[in-house]
Point group: C2
Chain length 265, copies 2
């Protein structure tokens, strides 16, 4: 089976043009099929501020009223996405910038209003993810670059968590490709000692994960990230890797990179 | 040879959500292959104003400094393009939103600074237009929707006239498709009497064009539009049609629509 790397980057790469430049260069150098998924970074918040739109976050999730949706559509779908595409083209990587609306690749449902009204936020309809269509695009030589937007099929764009988009794509494509899902974040990996950047746990399988949770080495913020990763693995994704974007070059040199989660160590 | 309609819309369609809705519905109903090219409308100017960026126009062309380029990348490439795509998906048209950077489909050169410095404005490298790649995308079932942005291949996005993008696409694709280029504007077509909306000249060939110019029936603002149209026809485009977006439905009913320019009447 052909290999596919799906890499998700967030603010710590996007907000720093030098980091972004080096990341995109390393991304281009990776062999095999690849997909990039990016979130938004600070630019959307800054633009909203300048326009006098108040940014409301609940548990780190942006409340997306209609004005905020306009901002994220402009910033995620336009400014960030198209500049990444132009930069990748410069490196010789035939990128094509997408939202879930493009090619009807990812549909979502507007999150129902309960205790909190998240506004125009989408929860992905997992069965809607068109792995076959995206696969065809890659086989035609294009590198998909997804921004954190989907649509509901009724003409409405929806702000959608980039981690979730990356994971839904990985699951949908794992039938066709040997798929590795890579989350870039600010640390070198999952650490035994949060104060020691080199105490990286290289491999975790579900058994080890339970041990690490019991010993409280993994706790709080990392738990949902790893829970979601093991769910993706249970759905067919070969491995989920968590690491720092600067170290991505190591992958090319077949060096260990970040923390690798998989079914069996 | 398969037929292809390339349709360009501007502010008078984009700025009016009802016009846009009906246009996109009619566009979806057209048979054969199709491409949509859109300009920017008033939204970019309004956003620039809100952000305190001065809009400078010379002969109707926007001077694109780096701040203005950010605005048009957000508005053309993000807000307008992705909302059009989501709306087309709603109508069952499998649209995919693009700039010239996506798929490296259209490269341009930053306009050299002469008497006027246009800033980040691109002049299309006509040989760069990847008709084959765009053709493959259409044959895979996608409808390309281009915004008025290209890139220079060095990582720089460039603001590029939408009429010119439409015409460059038509020329590049005319070897593979029987291509008609349709410009939507505010009039029903080229008029004999500017005050009589029904005095449409239905067909113009180069001989008739010369007569109409001599009689000063066609003059001023229409001249560059028609000159460019006849250049596209000389380069292989089957016909250029100029008409009003509301009347596009007529095309489907095989009724006469707008003014048709071609080699032979």
């Amino acid at each position: 089976m052909k290999t596919l790397n799906i890499i998700k980057i967030g603010g710590n790469v996007i907000d720093n043009s030098e980091n972004l430049y080096h990341f995109l260069k390393d991304f281009t150098a990776l062999s095999g099929y690849k997909i990039l998924v990016h979130g938004g970074g600070k630019v959307a918040t800054q633009l909203a501020e300048t326009l006098g739109i108040e940014t409301k976050l609940v548990d780190g999730r942006r409340i997306t009223d209609i004005e905020t949706l306009r901002v994220v559509t402009m910033v995620y779908g336009g400014l960030i996405n198209k500049n990444i595409v132009a930069q990748l083209q410069h490196f010789g990587n035939n990128a094509i910038g997408l939202t879930g609306a493009d090619g009807n690749f990812i549909r979502a449902t507007k999150r129902p209003v309960a205790a909190i009204d998240y506004g125009f936020v989408g929860d992905i309809d997992e069965k809607s993810v068109d792995g076959e269509g995206i696969g065809k695009l890659m086989e035609a030589g294009f590198t998909p670059v997804f921004s954190a937007l989907t649509h509901d099929g009724e003409g409405q764009l929806l702000n959608t968590n980039a981690d979730t988009i990356a994971s839904a794509l990985a699951v949908a494509l794992s039938g066709m490709f040997e798929t590795t899902l890579i989350y870039c974040f600010e640390k070198k990996g999952v650490l035994i000692d949060i104060n020691d950047d080199d105490s990286i746990i290289r491999d975790i399988d579900p058994v080890r994960y339970e041990e690490l949770k019991k010993k409280q080495i993994i706790h709080s913020g990392m738990l949902p990230k790893l829970d979601n990763a093991f769910t993706a693995i249970a759905c067919g994704v070969k491995a989920v890797v968590i690491g720092r974007s600067d170290d991505l070059g190591e992958l090319k040199q077949s060096k260990p990179f970040g923390t690798r989660l998989s079914k069996n160590i």
